[in-house]
Symmetry: C2
Subunit: 249 residues, 2 copies
């Protein structure tokens, strides 16, 4: 059973960023979408052939945003798929619509905040020490561009992040994998992966920034990898020192 | 004589980055284009009303790239303009076409390298300690994006750079000024500023990246200022440490 290209990139990220350690109890956030599905499959294979030993389970947060999740058939199919890969799949039901505070409207940011908080809660209660998320290279770069142009800071979602508030580490084993590779792979495997078709996210900022990322890099892998590498190659001598930041307006 | 908005931003850059000091002998690179022309005008005004005292002269590098410079009439008009502003304008003639090495073709990078080297040479020989260049905010951001996606590093042209090899400091007093403000200002003053219409630069990378910058920021000033600020706001904890850079391929 040869390693796929995606698995090689996962292996590289796991090694370089020390994502998986002996005895880890890893909870994977499973949305039914292509990213977390590919990640589940790859980690389940890795568990079979690779030391260190780790436990892998998955949690699906079933929300109530119209069009934002799977129907009963989709949930059933996901369960079957995860069973095949020997990944216990748990489900919690959450009212995301009901959690929106008065005067606020539903959006991707709020929905993912609620989901993340449920995932954290479940992980802590069930003694997991790591949460595996399906964010890929394009997500990391999109976040970088959003942070630079909307928050004025150079920061992103990193492959490994220890929460300050919780005894939990977030890992992103797909950090080096292009979104297009995931799309191609899902297609080649004939898997049906859901996409969130909730109307609240249709004009989401992240989608706009995915377009901006492709404009900036011409959608080319080499430019994306250089952009990723730039975050680790900060030439302080060719930047303006923090204490000299021009405060305008 | 009220300060224009451009002069206020120049004053801010001069102060924040300590660009001009008592007794400075500043040589301005004058191409006849809008950027260096606006800078010359603003610095000549500043010289009149503002301490510290400094000397300001300008150098035009007249090249031989077809369409890449001014005709005799343009050069005459520039001289008249600089005379009005009491800026001594010197001219050196350089064969840029003749300097292209065999097997290489002319391009913007080579042309600007030759011009810069002449400017440095002239400054040293004539006892200047600073070179003022007309790069503006958009140039600085374009360079940042080019460095990130083509060289894999976070770096740009900074407002003040002390050369390692020469007793010279480069200053960029327009660092906080948007290109559009310069365009608008030149128009409002009725100045005729040349644009380089040399055919070698027509499809230049920098032009492509100016478009990418506008795609990324929607051409909006606030997004550009945040992008600029991000270079001084590097959140190391949300970046991948240098020693963990994934070396691919």
């Amino acid at each position: 059973m040869a390693l796929t290209n995606i698995e090689k990139l996962i292996a590289k990220a796991v090694k370089d960023y020390n994502l998986i350690e002996e005895g880890d109890r890893i909870l994977l956030g499973a949305s039914g979408g292509k990213d977390s599905t590919v990640l589940a499959w790859a980690l389940s294979r890795r568990k079979v052939w690779k030391n260190p030993n780790f436990t892998l389970e998955a949690l699906r947060i079933a929300g109530d945003v119209p069009g934002g999740g799977m129907d009963a058939g989709g949930a059933e199919a996901l369960k079957t798929q995860f069973d095949e890969w020997n990944i216990p799949l748990h489900t919690v039901h959450v009212s995301i619509m009901g959690s929106v505070k008065q005067g606020h409207s539903m959006n991707c940011y709020w929905c993912s905040t609620i989901r993340r908080s449920e995932l954290i809660d479940y992980a802590i209660k069930n003694n997991f020490n790591k949460i595996a998320l399906g964010h890929h290279l394009d997500d990391i770069l999109t976040t970088l561009l959003m942070n630079m142009t909307k928050k004025g800071e150079i920061a992103t979602m990193i492959p490994k992040l220890q929460y300050e508030k919780y005894p939990l580490t977030v890992i992103r084993p797909l950090a080096l994998v292009l979104e297009q590779s995931i799309r191609d792979f899902v297609k080649s495997m004939g898997w049906k992966a859901g996409t969130c078709s909730c109307s609240y996210g249709a004009d989401g900022e992240r989608k706009l920034y995915q377009k901006k990322l492709d404009d900036l890099t011409n959608g080319k892998e080499d430019a994306k990898r250089l952009l990723f590498a730039s975050m680790s190659n900060i030439r302080r001598e060719y930047l303006i020192p923090n204490e000299l930041v021009a405060k305008l307006g």
